[in-house]
Amino acid sequence: MEKFGFSISKGRQIDYEANDRRVADFIYEREPSFRLCIECGGCSATCTTGNLTKFSLREIHILIKRGENDKVREDIKKCMLCGKCTLVCPRGVNTRNIVMLAKQAFIKSDEYAV
């Protein structure tokens, strides 16, 4: 789009109605502990990838929940599944399964797209 000299500026708002929360629903259904996150950031603090890149598991959580999937789609591939986040999570969120499910959901949504 931008090539043609105009751009659609989306604004900074999260457009809750317009956003696609199917990825979140997909995860909620299969991993109920996804709901338990309180955004404490323990996972992102201990995360190896998170200390080297912009990857933040906490942020990924909240973005998926709000349907802001675009940033997550690529970022989530950086996870090494080492499991430190699961170990420090005070809410017992099954973080690794959420990463796995999110990856799956993105692959699925890519298949159905076009």
Binding site: I38, E39, C40, G41, G42, C43, S44, A45, T46, C47, G50, N51, S56, R58, E59, K84, L87, V88, C89, P90, R91, G92
Partner: protein
Amino acid sequence: MSKHVIVIGGGVAGLEAAGQLSKAGIEVSLIEKDSLTGGHLNNWYKLFPDRRHSSEVKAYLDGISLNDRIRLLTGTTVEKFHRNKSHFSIITDKGKELSADAVVVATGFDLFKSEKKEEYGYGIYDNVISSSDLEVMFRSGKIVLQNGTVPKTIGIVHCVGSRDEKAGNLYCSKLCCVTAVKQAIELREHLPASKVFCFYMDMRMGGAFYEELYREAQEEWAVNFIRGKVSEASETIDNKLVIKVEDTLAGRPLKMELDLLVLMAGMEMSEGGKKIATLSGLTTGQNRFFSAADPHYGSNRSNINGVFYAGTCTAPMNITETISHARAAVSDVMDYLKESN
């Protein structure tokens, strides 16, 4: 014939209950496992939110509980607990048998054992201490590191052993936040050159004048608040602590070097309380504290008729609440004794 009540636990709740019972003309036996009464109050320096000295409250409690209607059995634990109709008999570790018409359980709380959160390094690194260790330092007036030097940067970790599924405690201990703020102010007061950082998940300032204290900490004492759960601490060769946390509001991981790390240990059902529970058959809840007969209008009554609860053996409470709870227990005891007459 005058009635006799046994109070188990000589902390704030136990002393208040014993004092009020004796005022009402009841004979009281007060069993305390330590050699001194006062419980956790003995270790504390100043109290929130007004930062009055803990000894003032201790003096009040001693005042109402030191009288000849109260028989003090310090350094004593309960070994057997029997109920025979409306009559209770307790055998102590010293073999003494006590009998009573009612029992008040005031076994209080234990602080969460911080070494259980190994990632914070309590008991492993030299300069990781718990909130109660810090109170001892305040009392002694010497806030120094293991090597004798004065700390310059100090971190305070909230929610250690509270709201933590991994620690087995899902509940909020509700007093650690305000304790952290109080201690942060005191640290700044004692060490004006120091920088203090509080690492919190949520600031739960629900009591009277708590929020005001929080404001004071920011405004007058320049305490820094960073929202994020500390995931781990490590030690450098020059004995500094490095903590990892996500500054969730900035959305970036944050690494910080500290001289001293203070862990805000949460409140748990006391070991003594657990023992009483097994001896007596009193029921405990999922949070391991004693479960009240009714959460709204029966928080002092138990599943055993004639056994009553006072204070933090049922849930985390501050001193004000504990004293109120103990008085309410006494009111229930008096009703019970009247009815069973």
